[in-house]
Each structure stands twice: as C-alpha cells, then as structure tokens.
C-alpha cells in the first residue's frame, strides 16, 4: 500500500491494535507495585549496629540526619585495668522532607546500620511528620529485603578480585625468585 491515505489508515490501525492490547496502567492503590531490587523507598536503621560515629550525619549533603548521644563508662574488665567508654545513641532521626535519597549515608556507614527499604507509603499532610525517629526507622528494618543475587555475567565482587590479583602477583614473584635462584646455582 502506498500513496494517498496511507498515513490515515496507519493511524487507525495503530490505535485499533493498541485498544485490543491490555493497557499498561498500574492499578496502584488496589495492587501494590512490583518494585525492582535495590529500590530506594525509605532508610531503615538497625540501631544495634550504630556506633554513633557520625559519618552519615557529616556526609549527608542535605543535612537531614539528626544524631544525639552521650558517653557511658563501663568498669574495667580486669582488675587494675582502664575504664572503657561507649557512645550511647539517644536520638537518631531522618528528615525525609530534606532527604534527597542519594544513598550516601548508607554507603558510608561502616557498620551496616543503615539500609534501603522499598517501603514508600509514608506521605504526610504535615511536613513535620516527615521527620522519623529511630523507633520508626527501626520498624522499617524488618521490611529490608535480602540483597539480590549477583548477575550471572557480572564481575566478581571487589574483595574477591583484589584477593585473586594479590595471589597471582605473589605466585609470579615466587616464580621469578625460583628462576633467579636456579640460574645462579
């Protein structure tokens, strides 16, 4: 088919075919969406892991993490020993009206106290209601999914790659040593 009226017919055909297919609408409030792995919904806190190192609060570009703490000292473990001091977490709050979901706090946490949870239904009518304290952040901890498996063709994790490289270098060095010692003999 060519020439006059082709575009007109094509337009009708395309709309008709689309009408016959299923629509792509996500029926959100009735059906929850299937979120992809690593979805950034809300930041959950594992309070036991937190050492109040303040890295997350300092790295946060939006300054949305509030941490209060105090020091407690515990008596020496052995007689004549030194008293140990611990940081005790008093307040850990994230203001999600400021948070830009950049994930820096989660990357920077050395003790895996912060995690991404795919939960996203915490909208509020009051902006002050978006500052969530540590008990609420802890509740979200139980919605954190296990980390997804590595893709079949993906590069090996960095730690393994580094270790393998180091082992290979060591082996090569050994071989060179052996050849040198063999030659001199």
């Amino acid at each position: 088919m060519s020439g006059f009226g082709r575009g007109l017919v094509n337009g009708l055909v395309v709309t008709w075919r689309t009408m016959m297919k299923r629509s792509v609408t996500a029926h959100y409030p009735d059906q929850l969406p299937e979120l992809p792995p690593r979805s950034r919904g809300v930041i959950a806190l594992m309070e036991e892991n937190c050492t109040v190192c303040m890295l997350c609060a300092r790295e946060c570009p939006a300054w949305c993490i509030y941490i209060d703490s105090h020091k407690e000292t515990s008596p020496p473990a052995t007689p004549g020993g030194r008293e140990r001091s611990h940081n005790m977490l008093d307040r850990f709050a994230i203001d999600f009206s400021l948070c830009m979901y950049c994930s820096i706090c989660i990357e920077v946490c050395p003790f895996d106290a912060l995690h991404w949870s795919p939960e996203f239904e915490y909208a509020d009518f009051d902006i002050r209601g978006l500052t969530h304290e540590k008990d609420r952040l802890q509740e979200w901890m139980w919605t954190v999914p296990p980390p997804p498996a590595v893709d079949p063709a993906a590069a090996p994790p960095k730690e393994i790659a580094t270790a393998e490289k180091a082992a290979a270098r060591l082996e090569a060095a050994d071989r060179v040593d052996e050849e040198r010692s063999g030659g001199s003999r």
Binding site: G11, L12, T15, W16, T18, M19, S23, V24
Partner: protein, 319 residues
C-alpha cells in the same frame, strides 16, 4: 387528529434519549480513548469500571460557580449555551428510528428542516465567542464562523445527493428508499457528509476553533460551571445527531437482516458504530491547521460533493 398522549410519550422518549445517548457516547469516548492510549480511563465513579463518571462530572459542574465576565455582553453570553444545545434536541425529534408513524412522520421535508436547524447550533459558539469579550474567544468564534461557511456547503450538497437518489426530502422516505447499492454509488456522498459533519461539530481533527494549545478553549474559554457543561453536552449531542443522520441518509436506517419490528435496534446499532468512528478519528488524527482545514473543504469536499451530485443526477435520470 393528533393523539396528544401519544405525542407527549414520544416527546418524553426523545428527551430521555437526548439526555442518555450523549452521555453514553461520552463514556464510550472516555473508555475507548483510554484503551487506545494504553490506559484504562475512569475506574472508580459508580463502582464498576467508572460507569458513572459523567454523572459525577455533571454534579461537579452544577456545583461550580457560573461566572459572567464584567466586560461580557451578559444576555448574549448567558443565552449562548442554550442556542448551542437546543437545536440538537429539536433535530432529534425529526430523526426516524423505525418505519411507520413516528414523530418524524409529521415533517414532509424533514431533511430540509434538520439541516436548517443543525446550522443554528453553530451560532451558539459564535455568540459565545463574541459575547465573552476575550480575544481568544473571539478568535475561536471567528474560526467557528469560517468553518461553518466552508463546511456547510459540502454538507448540504452531500445530503442533497441522498435526497435526489430517493426522490424525497423526508428522512423516513429516504431511509425507506434505501437499497444496499447506495453503499457503493453514494459512498463519496457519505464520506463527504460525515467529514463535513465532523467539521461542523468541531470534533478533532477539525477542532481548530477550540485548539487548546493556541487559543485556550476558543469560544468557551470564559465559560464555567453548568454553562460550560451545556456546551460539552452540545458537542456530544451533536455526535449522536450526526451519526443518526449518517445512518438514516446513507446506511439505510432500520434496514437489516432482523425482523421488521427490530428496525429501531438497527438504527441505534448503526448510530453507535458511527459514533465510535467519530471517537476513533479523534484519537488517531492530529488537529489540522486552519489553512489546511479550509483547503480540505474547498478543494476536496466541495468538488467531490458536486461530482457525486452529477453522478446521482445521471443515475436517477437513467433509471
């Protein structure tokens, strides 16, 4: 003479059809257009797939304040929606849905009557455009006028072809004289009639008068509330009337393989199919530019309609 109870009953039926059919077309448009764009359309109003969406819209429009701009020409501005809507109600009276003595048989030259009254509807948009005291409304109104001027001619010529072929000006007579051959030799007239009718209704792709990207909403820019709703209702009533007229003039109205008593069902079914086509064209085609609109009418539809008229003349004289 005239059975008044019978007449009153028929008027009530027409009124109910006038209030229900446009909403049905509107709802079909919501859903069909949505699915053609891979959406689902209204889903909540009324519970089952949003069937009551337009009822809810109507309630919303009634609640809204109806504003008359200070600079507007008040009486003309208030009257315009009625002038746009009522002609379609009057036309609906004259459209025959089934053979036999109906309200439509009161008119001998109902085709003439229908075409005359339908053109009045466009005056409503023109009044709205002028009386709103808004430059966009005025531009839209002038575009309506230009569109009416150019498309009324092929519209009437195409209808005249059907009247000549049937040898009568009565719509019921035309539908009765219809034979399947008309589908072939009156096909150009049908196409011209339908396209010109679309343009008179200002339906996409001929919605230049209300082109929202450039003149906001044309003649209806200043309207709010129930008056605005009446203009929208007029558009959908116009779709019903145009589809019914196309059915009666060119598709044989009640002719169909079912028994004679079910003729009205055939008329309604054909009207529904044509209405769906109107919706389909809206989704499939982009809006035409103003000059393309005029060019289509004067260099496309008018010559085709005249040629069809000549062909019909030869055909009628030869047989």
């Amino acid at each position: 003479m005239i059975d008044w109870w019978d007449l009153a009953l028929r008027m009530v039926v027409v009124l109910v059809a006038f209030l229900v059919l446009p909403l049905l077309v509107g709802q079909t448009e919501h859903k069909a257009m949505a699915h053609m764009q891979s959406r689902v359309g209204p889903m909540y109003a009324g519970g089952f797939h949003g069937w009551a969406q337009l009822v809810a819209d109507g309630v919303k429009f009634v609640q809204k304040e109806s504003i008359v701009p200070t600079a507007a020409d008040g009486p003309v501005y208030r009257l315009a929606p009625a002038v746009a809507l009522l002609p379609y109600l009057i036309v609906l009276v004259a459209i025959p849905v089934a053979p036999g003595p109906g309200a439509a048989s009161f008119f001998d030259s109902s085709l003439f009557f229908v075409l005359a009254v339908m053109s009045v509807g466009v005056l409503g948009s023109l009044m709205a455009g002028w009386a709103s005291a808004n430059k966009f409304s005025l531009l839209g109104g002038l575009r309506v006028a230009a569109q009416l001027m150019s498309y009324e001619l092929p519209f009437v010529l195409a209808a005249a072809s059907a009247a000549m072929a049937a040898g009568t000006l009565s719509l019921a007579g035309i539908a009765a004289a219809w034979t399947p051959w008309w589908l072939l030799w009156q096909l150009p007239a049908m196409a011209v009639f339908f396209v010109a009718g679309l343009a008179e209704l200002q339906r996409p792709p001929f919605d230049m008068p209300v082109a929202d990207a450039e003149i906001i909403f044309g003649p209806y820019t200043e309207y709010t509330g129930i008056r605005f709703a009446l203009f929208l209702l007029a558009e959908y009533a116009g779709i019903v009337v145009l589809s019914a007229l196309t059915t009666v003039l060119f598709l044989g109205g009640w002719h169909g393989p079912l028994p004679h008593q079910l003729g009205w069902l055939w008329t309604l079914a054909k009207t529904g199919v044509i209405s769906f086509l109107v919706i389909w064209l809206r989704v499939a085609y982009p809006r035409m530019r103003e000059d393309q609109l005029q060019k289509l009418a004067w260099t496309g539809l008018v010559p085709v309609a005249l040629a069809q008229l000549a062909l019909t003349t030869v055909g009628v004289l030869a047989t």
